[in-house]
């Protein structure tokens, strides 16, 4: 799952948090060491060295509803390739994330475009994710400090809640993130993004836990922006393979154009 998310960047929610676990938390907190330990463990559980997934995305906004199917590959933390399979109008459109750069291939005009910093806060493929989400996703570890903010029973389930605070010098748009996972299996349940005024900005809910990529993972991510509660972006994992053989050439500009 971690790698799947990673590959999407978009799915930053979970992946990054898990990543973030590797970051060292508040030193005065005796639990910091343990939070790091657990998050790292969680992270290891979910991370693959490479991945391949088929995902359906539904975006509902005030003005449109759209359904897309895409195929995504990832390798390591820095390289992600997403290719749209449906609808027909956008078939073949591909996004390559390589390090801090995002390239988009547009089949209709047969052009590859590198997104400039000005476009980073723009919507990715019309969803509630931004291009910035895609880039920052793998940088969580450097950008945030994590600690366990809640541990115990809530709504009849044993939970762990992590809070991630941006480091002082990190160039991030969020004020705080919280991630809730099941205590035993570390299956993520919910992630909440707070803006710089510490108001909830968006919520990602994880559901439909089922066997995916060889173990139980939530197959559905449901993203709701706080300022527009009627809108959402939903990602449904249709298949996921982890730790597969992928060549580096897969994540090159030339492979972007391949259909």
């Amino acid at each position: 799952m971690r790698s799947a998310l990673h590959r999407f960047g978009v799915l930053c929610a979970l992946g990054s948090c898990l990543c973030g676990g590797a970051a060292v938390a508040q030193p005065e907190d005796g639990q910091a060491e343990r939070a790091t330990q657990i998050l790292r463990e969680v992270d290891d559980l979910w991370r693959g060295s490479s991945s391949h997934a088929r995902v359906a995305m539904q975006v509902k906004t005030e003005h449109y509803t759209r359904n897309m199917k895409m195929e995504a590959w990832s390798k390591g933390k820095e390289e992600t390739l997403v290719r749209i399979v449906a609808p027909l109008k956008e078939k073949g459109t591909a996004t390559l994330k390589s390090g801090n750069n995002i390239f988009t291939y547009l089949p209709r005009t047969d052009r590859t475009i590198r997104l400039t910093s000005g476009m980073m806060l723009g919507s990715w493929m019309g969803s509630h994710f931004t291009n910035d989400d895609l880039v920052k996703e793998s940088r969580r570890e450097e950008d945030y400090d994590a600690y366990i903010s809640f541990e115990g029973e809530r709504d009849g389930r044993q939970l762990l809640e992590f809070t991630l605070l941006p480091k002082a010098d990190a160039a991030v748009v969020w004020g705080k993130l919280t991630l809730t996972v099941l205590a035993g299996s570390y299956i993520p349940l919910e992630e909440i993004y707070y803006d710089e005024d510490m108001q909830v900005a968006r919520t990602i809910t994880f559901s439909d836990v089922k066997p995916l990529g060889g173990r139980e993972r939530p197959a559905v991510l449901h993203v709701v922006p706080a300022d527009k509660p009627d809108e959402y972006t939903e990602l449904v994992y249709e298949s996921l393979q982890l730790d597969i053989q992928l060549s580096d050439a897969m994540f090159s500009l030339s492979s972007l154009r391949r259909r």
Partner: protein, 406 residues
Amino acid sequence: MNLLSLALRNVMRNWHRTLVTTLAMAFAGIIMILFAALMEGLMQASERNAVAMNLGDIQIHAPGYRDDPDLYTRIEQPAALLESLRAAGFRASARLYGFGLAASGSTSAGVQLRGIDPRAEAGVTQVHRHLLQGRWLDSGDRDGVVVGRKLARTLGVVTGDEVVIVSQASDGSIADALFRVRGVLKSVGEGVDRAGFYLLDTAFRDLMVLPQGAHEIAVLRADRDTDLDAATAEVAALATGYETLDWRALQPVIARILELADAQLVFMLLVVYVAVGMVVLNAMLMSVFERIHEFGVMKAIGVTPWQITALVFMETLVQVSVACLLALGLGWWSARYFQLNGIDLSGIASAASIGGVALDPVWYARITPDALLLPVGFLLLIALLAVIYPAVKAAVIRPVAALHYR
């Protein structure tokens, strides 16, 4: 008593002083005419760049669009509104705006897509005549676009090059299309220079999947001399439910500067002419003191104080009239020169702008009736004010004392 011939004779008696006084006044007049013409040129250029390049006199937006330029905040029935505006004697052009990424080769830049109808737009703005290179949009050339100057430089494109636009269409899908640069604009204003991307409204609708609506309607009065406020009220009455603002409200900075320019001219006139007034005062006072004996004789033979006052005024009037004619002639001539041959400021300031509205790097003077008559009128006024004291001084002379004055 022939006042004029008497005054002329008196003026010629000390022709050195007369020459210096007259030339001083004429020189000040010439300078002020030139200054006024240059200011007028600057202001007209600013107003032209603001109004004629982009704003129009009046603009109509859907409520809230100006605060949050959203693709979905639209004027729903622009065709009907345009129709009624044109029926009321206005020129009007509907515009579509959107944001996107323009890419050429390996460079890319954020752009403001500006979908326009070239024919309607030409009735409202002059931007189609403001090309650095290439040609303006043509409704027959669907892929042709015109870009701002700095944008062209950022993207490294010239006329004939291809540009890809990527954006998000109104249905959420990816909007991408290939365009060809038809023309590059001269400096119009910071926004247009840096991100202006003009394309046909039909091409915009296809690209952004936006079959109807418009984001802005720019309106121009057919007659520039009609009252802007009245015209704005008239447009607002036609565009009920929408926000109607004149360009002064849309560009308050420019409006303020233009207002201040008039005050600035008057202020400059006062400063320069107070000095000229001193010269006149001094010269006439001298000439009165020199002739105290003479004025005493005149009074003794029955010339009234009013007539003496009139004489001194006439002497001044003769000098200031010559000065005014000189100022008009030479001022017009020098202003005319700068009207035809602008002052090239590009070496000093490459791209000056006021409130986001670019100024041409070449500064042209502009001769208007005001620019000619205001300095001359003020010159006349100041000279006649300055001579009040000497004239009164001459008028109230007591004949007996004056006759013995040495």
